[in-house]
């Protein structure tokens, strides 16, 4: 069901960027923003990075051929990672730890109303954290996450399961 939708959206966007792109944006912007917001210092920064991601996507789409949803998301998140890297370089936050520290102490963060889950996430290792964010916030299936972070689906499931357990214990404490 969704597969057809993404395929149609991508093909439409490739064929007719002016019309099709808006639909593709509507469909994917939340996934991108949720992931980006977790990795940036503020809601504003997240918005800006999201914006840059879609500008990049717009430029790259003509070179993209649809094969599968996962392949498209992998393509999309390659752009996301690149834009995040550019963002880190710009804000001189190369180290995730450093970023988290800053983010943590920052009152600006729009996503810190209730920091407990976010704080709990920080106790996880990078990969587990990414899997949780991609699965819960960006709404990706384990298979899709596997393609995006280049991991076997089963391994993603195992990691996710352990991460959940860890989060539950921290949040209960």
């Amino acid at each position: 069901m969704e597969s057809i939708e993404i395929k149609a959206l991508v093909n439409h966007a490739v064929a007719d960027t002016s019309q099709g792109f808006a639909a593709l944006y509507e469909h994917t912007v939340d996934r991108v923003f949720s992931f980006v917001a977790f990795r940036t210092n503020s809601h504003e920064d997240a918005r800006e990075v999201t914006q840059d991601v879609f500008i990049e996507l717009y430029k790259s789409l003509p070179r993209f051929t649809y094969q599968s949803d996962a392949a498209f998301y992998s393509f999309l998140f390659t752009i996301v990672r690149r834009q995040l890297a550019a963002y880190y370089a710009k804000t001189k936050k190369h180290e995730t730890a450093e970023l988290q520290e800053e983010w943590h102490g920052s009152a600006e963060s729009a996503v810190e109303q209730n920091c407990s889950v976010t704080q709990a996430l920080e106790t996880l290792d990078d990969v587990s954290r990414e899997i949780v964010v991609l699965h819960h916030w960006s709404r990706f299936t384990f298979a899709e996450i596997g393609t995006i972070i280049n991991m076997k689906e089963s391994a993603v499931r195992v990691r996710h399961h352990r991460a959940r357990a860890a989060l539950a214990s921290i949040l209960n404490a």
Binding site: T17, F21, E26, D30, F54, I55, V117, T118, V132
Partner: protein, 372 residues
């Protein structure tokens, strides 16, 4: 904590964009991709220059007139660096405003003229050193240059004329051409007093230096400076094949410095406008020099050779008295009268042809010979 509780808590903290924010972001994206801001450098490169060489020269000019470009400023026509000097000048022109452009063109033309003079003086000095004895006897203001210097001079003359291309300021144009003529007038080629000098330069421009005039022409340009102060310029634009059918614009600029009738100029223009071919009376010489070039567009019907001044000869009378002949020629608005020792028909015609630039054939047809 149950799995559902955990999921809910994670879900509660999911960062999201509001619908308004999403729409705003989309608008920004669409605005940015619709009108991408090109790099200012890219814009500069695309709008201002056509070739990589141009870009490089422009950069050097912008960064400062140093190194090669500065050195090239001293280059004279025929020198290796001369094309760079020209390129640098073109870049300056491309960046100049209208007023500044006219100023620059005048400046460049003056530079070309100065370079011509330098070349003449360089070639002269060496000649005088070589033939000091003979030249010291000369009292005229003319300078004798080495034969080998002829080509350099011709190139320099071409460069002066090139610099006048696209030059709108008629006054300065005329002034430069007058000076050019004055300079060329003084030049005598060593070992050649009465002969015609034909020079073929690289770009098919021919420079012909005679005792009474200098003619420069190429496929689209023809200039003739007479010793009585007439400067005549004709410019033609032709298509890539150089075919006559491709003549798109023809513009004649005639300037009369002397005290000639006004109708002289008109006459000249008429003659040239009606002409299909640009031919000179000594077209044969060109032919010998350069068949390839000539075959292209100058001369498709050789039989036409003698028609150029046809009708322009009003009178050609020769009275032969004993060993002397009195010659009277009227052509165009000019009049030529002189006495000569040549009394044979062929010699007379040859002499008149040389002095007037008329062809032997047309002179012969108009000859009114009287023998006392």
């Amino acid at each position: 904590m149950s799995n559902d509780d955990l999921d809910n808590r994670i879900e509660k903290e999911r960062p999201t964009l509001s619908a308004e924010e999403k729409a705003a972001v989309l608008r920004v994206i669409e605005a940015k991709v619709a009108a991408p801001t090109p790099s200012p450098y890219a814009a500069f490169i695309h709008s201002r220059t056509k070739t990589m060489t141009g870009v490089l020269v422009a950069l050097v000019v912008i960064v400062g007139t140093t190194g090669t470009v500065a050195a090239s400023n001293d280059a004279k026509p025929g020198d290796l660096l001369f094309p760079i000097e020209r390129a640098a000048e073109r870049v300056q022109l491309a960046f100049a405003g209208e007023a500044r452009e006219a100023e620059l063109r005048a400046q460049f033309s003056a530079e070309r003229l100065a370079e011509l003079r330098e070349i003449i003086s360089e070639e002269t000095e060496s000649t005088e050193a070589e033939v000091a004895a003979s030249s010291s006897a000369s009292t005229s203001a003319s300078v004798t240059v080495r034969e080998s210097g002829e080509e350099r001079i011709a190139k320099a003359v071409t460069a002066v004329l090139d610099s006048l291309e696209d030059f709108d300021d008629r006054d300065i144009r005329v002034q430069i051409l007058t000076e050019l003529q004055a300079d060329i007038d003084k030049v005598k080629i060593a070992g050649r007093s009465e002969t015609t000098t034909n020079v073929q330069t690289e770009d098919n421009t021919r420079v012909e230096i005679k005792d009474d005039r200098i003619e420069v022409r190429d496929d689209g340009f023809r200039l003739r400076i007479d010793d009585d102060g007439d400067v005549r310029v004709q410019v033609r634009e032709q298509d890539a094949q150089g075919s006559k059918a491709g003549v798109q614009a023809e513009e004649s600029v005639s300037t009369n410095f002397g005290d000639h009738d006004d109708d002289y100029e008109d006459k000249w223009e008429e003659e040239y406008e009606d002409e299909d071919e640009w031919e000179f009376e000594d077209e044969e010489e060109w032919e010998d020099d350069d068949d390839d070039h000539r075959g292209r567009d100058h001369d498709e019907d050789d039989s036409d050779d003698d028609t150029e001044w046809n009708g322009s000869i009003k009178k050609f009378e020769v009275r032969v008295e004993g060993l002397k002949a009195e010659v009277r020629v009227e052509y165009g608005s000019k009049k030529l009268e002189y006495n000569t020792v040549y009394t044979t028909k062929a010699a007379l015609i040859a002499e008149v042809a040389l002095r007037t630039g008329l062809t032997s054939a047309e002179l012969e047809s108009e000859l009114d010979l009287e023998i006392d």
